[in-house]
Amino acid sequence: MTATALKLIDVNKSFGSSKIINGVTLEVLSGERHAIIGPNGAGKSTLFNLISGFYPVNSGRIELKGRDITNLPSHQINRCGLSRSFQVTNIFPRMSVFENIRCALLWPMGYRYSFWHLCGRLKKVNEKAEELLAKINMADRRDIPAGLLAYADQRALEIGITIAGNADVILLDEPTAGMSKSETGRAVELIHSVTEDKTLIMVEHDMNVVFDLADRISVLVYGEILATDTPGSIRSNAQVQEAYLGKELA
């Protein structure tokens, strides 16, 4: 039996009187690539923000690898092995590309709030950072301030930051949004290679990307999960077609 990586049980979230997430129950298996799709305003990003502790839930329970993480602060959820990217590019703009990656390695490699180690001398950290830079194909831009990178490169860097730690559950929020077709192709390749033997949960609008990457898909409409199934079944699910895919695949 495959273990469960992430489990949501009857999770609810409202902002004021508007209910955004309405009793979502979802199980993501360890090692699968799981996509969450749905029309604009369905609550996909909110769902990510709940899972990662960015917002507190109103009710319900969230478990990460069997451990209750409901309403824990973000940094503690991260230390439990969950990492995420953001819909809007979210890097450390004034620090170099290399520093961005290294920052993501310091805590997991045990250096915490140390002010008695010099980063330049942390051989293992630096080696790992170089390795990751090569993996996301940015070794040649290692010393450029991250804020000056091209958009697609910033997205790639963010993926690098997200996977740098020990996290084995990765949340990517629209990783290919705003990219050209060729950039998207490269991003998909990158995501595929860096999430090897990790659990990936992604929000994505580009259906080609979703069908390329996902093992299973959940459809979120008006804060409720309409269906969770394999790409093939989702494609032929009449209810889903009506609610969301509609003309796009007809």
Binding site: N90, F92, M95, C103, L106, P108, Y113, F115, L118, I161
Partner: protein
């Protein structure tokens, strides 16, 4: 090791430590060049200001925390050290004088941890306002707790306690200067190293993007608290040196004036480069001590300088200098210099005109006898006659007209130099 390897190793060592060795030499030699007691006092004050400004930049530059109350730790460090001196004199605690600044620093750490935890839950406006509140809180308690803060006359003590590590008596200003110089170099070195540690880097990360930092495992509140505490430590050392230097600490040390001062020093020097605050501390201390002797209006000049920097050089002196680094490396400085000189002349004319106006106004409104002649650059004239006004305004207008043309020339030279450097890079 062959000679070439030896040489390259020497070069890399020089690159890493050369600037520190150079700084140490300068610090040692300066009081031998400037021998008057006034300039040695100024050099001592500069050393203290450098530590204080660098510690402030741990907040503003490294951590993105705009504090309006950093003098709290400077002042507390000073008071703790001055009490330390008294304890030593009273035979309570035998602390060597050389380590007295450390006592101030460690005392400041305790307060830093407490206030840091209170203030740094959020950065931005929230932090700025809380830091202002903490500043006011401590400044007002200074008047309520006269046994610790000494009320209006402050607390004084004698630094010649007889208990030292080195056997130096510290009766002469020059020996105190070298003690300050030692602590300045050590503190600056440590603060530089701190920027290279995981905590220092994460302070940058939290400054850049507090939303992202939790998702690489860090509690932003803790990162800021620790950074704040370490900044308080060095401010406390600066305060401790102040106590040793002047043998008196008053409640003013803890108030909003030194808090604003350190902000301006750091900003004028430049927050984006480690050495920026050093430049700011040196320049502002120099202005404070020497301009104050020349003109009553010195605060106005200081304010104008600060406003000018904020408007036109937000990266400070260090930013202006580093802007020229690539030009210097490409050997193209000589292409810029003529335009700079051409712009400096009308700028000087504008400055002269403005200065004339300021001095006339100060003389008319603030001097005891406005009808007495005003003396500027050994020229005596009546501030009440219209002629100096006409001259001043004329200078400003003429200067401005020429400056505009010169500024265009500077722009043009910069464009030429940049395009040349681009060519050099691609070719």
């Amino acid at each position: 090791m062959n000679p070439i390897e030896k040489k390259s190793k020497f070069l890399s060592l020089w690159r890493r430590y050369g600037i520190w060795i150079g700084a140490a030499i300068i610090v040692c030699v300066l009081p031998l060049i400037f021998r008057s007691s006034f300039s040695r006092t100024m050099l001592s004050q500069m050393g203290i200001a450098i530590i204080f400004a660098l510690s402030y930049n741990m907040l503003l530059g490294e951590g993105g925390l705009l504090s309006f109350g950093h003098a709290v730790f400077y002042g507390l460090g000073g008071f703790i050290s001055i009490h330390g001196l008294k304890w030593v004199s009273d035979g309570v605690l035998p602390i060597p004088l050389e380590l007295m600044p450390l006592v101030g620093g460690l005392g400041a750490v305790i307060f830093g941890l407490f206030f840091g935890w209170l203030a740094t839950e959020r950065a931005g406006t929230t932090f700025a306002l809380i830091s202002l509140g903490i500043g006011e809180l401590i400044a007002s308690s200074a008047l309520m707790l006269p046994s610790f803060f000494g009320g209006e006359q402050g607390i004084s003590a004698n630094r010649m306690t007889g208990i030292t590590l080195t056997g130096i008596k510290f009766s002469k200003q020059i020996t105190v200067y070298y003690l300050i110089a030692f602590w300045t170099l050590v503190s600056a070195g440590l603060m530089y190293l701190l920027t290279q540690t995981p905590l220092g880097r994460m302070a940058n990360a939290v400054r850049d993007n507090p939303e992202r930092a939790p998702f690489v495992g860090y509690d932003t509140h803790r990162v800021r608290t620790f950074q704040y505490t370490l900044a308080a430590f060095f401010a406390g050392i600066a305060g401790g040196l102040l106590a040793v230097n002047y043998e008196i600490v008053t409640a003013e040390t803890i108030g909003h004036i030194p808090s604003a001062n350190v902000l301006m020093m750091t900003y004028i020097g430049g927050v984006g480069h480690f050495f920026g605050p050093v430049l700011g501390a040196v320049l502002v201390t120099f202005m404070q001590l020497s301009l104050a002797n020349i003109t009553h209006a010195w605060l106005l000049y200081f304010g104008l300088l600060f406003m000018g920097m904020v408007l036109w050089a937000p990266n400070g002196l260090a930013g202006l200098l580093m802007l020229h680094e690539p030009v210097w490396k490409a050997g193209l400085m000589k292409r810029l210099l003529p335009a700079y000189i051409l712009a400096a002349l009308p700028a000087l004319v504008i400055f002269l005109g403005a200065m004339l106006l300021i001095e006339i106004n100060y003389h008319l409104s603030l001097s005891i006898d406005p009808t007495a002649p005003l003396k500027l650059f050994k020229i005596s004239f009546s501030a009440q006659s219209p002629l100096p006004w006409v001259v001043a305004i004329g200078l400003i207008i003429i200067g401005f007209l020429f400056f505009r043309r010169a500024a265009r020339r500077v722009n043009q030279s910069w464009q030429e130099v940049t395009s040349e450097m681009k060519k050099g890079a691609s070719g």
